[in-house]
Symmetry: C2
């Protein structure tokens, strides 16, 4: 959420000679994105986002992410469209880093989305799943069930420093999820991080989906479970069933959920909660002493996980049978 | 150079109800400004900069700064124009902080301005001085000669930690400047911080002057001296007389320099160099151990000051008699 790499107007002007975008009219470093440096630029042909990929994004994954955005944008999803240079390539180098220019999308991210917004999100999520079909590249989801044990081991017993008993609770939950995780759900490309800050709205209209840097191949219903976690809890961690109902109904308006997916929703929600609990926990335990940026609270997802553990069926999320 | 205060889309939407700017279409925190939080916002009526004033700007000075921008913009200077709310006021409150919306200006800031850019800057600086006449508010320049001794005392003998001998060198220079500082030069409103990063260019056209938060009443020629320091040295601290000549000639094309101003240029340049040496020195000495943001190097201005001490007359800066 900062600009890590400094770019001068002179260097950017030179860089833009590789594109057909017209003269540079404005550029501002923006506080956005997951540990990348982002700039909002304006040229003679419009507005764009320039991203310099910092170390957290694997360079080998960039063709998948950029190719996916192009594939989805071509199929009507409002997502950033990577802009190709004269040489036909979207992935280039600036200031010694992999860099890409994508189209700018209007809209703002709501911090407290309403049920109306949840409904729009559901429909867009399903449309994204449908549009992703036919994309030829694939990427394993490093943060699905197989990736959780290494994270849990990285945290180890220090989890108890965050909350007493957390270590054993995580161990038990993990063992249970590994045993019962559904392995044959309809799958394809999922966003995998579609939090409110990665969607844009103009009024109540969902105008854009951004930040595809966790996208991977996985179960579609797992993406829905991530959204139920990220969009439908109130600030007191209570689940808002009106929002859940709107999200699921919005999704089903565009893509049907089969019986197996519906039955799997509670365990998928538990898995999604554990995934964010674990990555936040590791970040929390590894933050340097005295750092200025406070990492996100892992306990938020522990509380959400506790809710999901109490759920008997998908109707608890507002799914109408 | 960061966003210090977080603003939600919901809060900004509410805030914009006090204006007649149309619906919120986009907003991004931008890495810009002197310890204020800045957002580039787009509404139905265009693009604007929203600034939340953090503690370093005195609230009592804001009517001067905002009023000055309005005064200058009304007189043809390309500077941000404060936007008034329904109640006729430009200065409002958001997230508990004084806040204002100003118009957005196109252009980019060059890091290595050419002589052509220096010429354009000179003409704009003179135009700004002329346009400032008739502005009814006044603000004493806290960072003119009377303000330097307190800064030097704040640094004290710790200046020697930065460079051995710096304490006594500053003391001698300060005593000399206090004795010989010109007190009866033509004066009015000056920008007082017109560095390259506070000007915007589209190609070679100067498209905007921004960041008026050091503006004050002082000698016009002192503003020119600040620009000679900020624009006309190369990265090896050598003075580029081609740039100096362009800057001074550009200035004189719009506002005449009288004999006293011309003769005072060398001492004014020394004073300007000492002013930035001292503020940078105090920042440098007060930066918390292990801070992420490295303050600007005070020694840059010590080297510039040494050059000015060797100057016999304004012709050394490229002024043509």
């Amino acid at each position: 959420m900062a600009v890590y790499t400094d770019v001068s107007a002179e260097d950017l002007t030179e860089f833009l000679k590789g594109y057909d975008l017209g003269p540079l009219l404005s550029f501002k470093g923006i506080a956005e994105g997951v540990e990348n440096s982002n700039f909002l630029i304006e040229t003679g042909s419009g507005r764009y986002i320039l991203t310099l990929y910092e170390k957290r994004v694997k360079k080998d994954d960039l063709p998948f992410f950029l190719g996916l955005m192009g594939h989805l944008a071509d199929r009507g999803i409002n997502c950033p469209l990577p802009v190709k240079g004269h040489d036909g390539k979207a992935l280039r180098t600036l200031a010694g880093r992999p860099a890409a220019i994508v189209t700018f999308l209007e809209g703002v991210s709501y911090r407290r989305p309403t049920a109306t917004h949840c409904g729009a999100l559901g429909t867009t999520l399903a449309a994204l799943h449908e549009a992703g079909k036919g994309f030829t590249l694939a990427r394993e989801n490093a943060l699905s069930v197989a990736g959780w044990r290494p994270l849990a081991e990285q945290a180890g017993e220090r989890a108890d420093d965050v909350a007493p008993g957390l270590t054993i609770a995580i161990r038990n939950e993990l063992a249970d999820l590994e045993t019962h995780w559904p392995r044959s759900l309809p799958a394809g490309v999922i966003h995998a991080d579609l939090f409110p800050n990665n969607t844009l709205f103009v009024g109540d209209q969902l105008s854009g989906v951004i930040d595809f840097y966790f996208a991977a191949n996985d179960a579609y219903a797992y993406d829905l479970a991530i959204c139920l976690n990220a969009w439908c809890f109130e600030s007191d961690y209570s689940f808002n069933m009106t929002k859940g109902r709107a999200l699921i109904a919005g999704y089903r308006a565009k893509r049907a959920l089969n019986r197996v997916e519906i039955d799997a929703l509670p365990i998928l929600c538990r898995g999604a909660a554990l995934r964010f609990l674990l990555t936040r926990l590791v970040d929390w335990l590894n933050v340097p002493h005295g750092a200025l940026v406070r990492p996100l609270d892992p306990m938020e997802y522990w509380k959400k996980l506790r809710f999901h553990q109490s759920v008997a069926s998908a109707t608890a999320y507002g799914l109408v049978e």
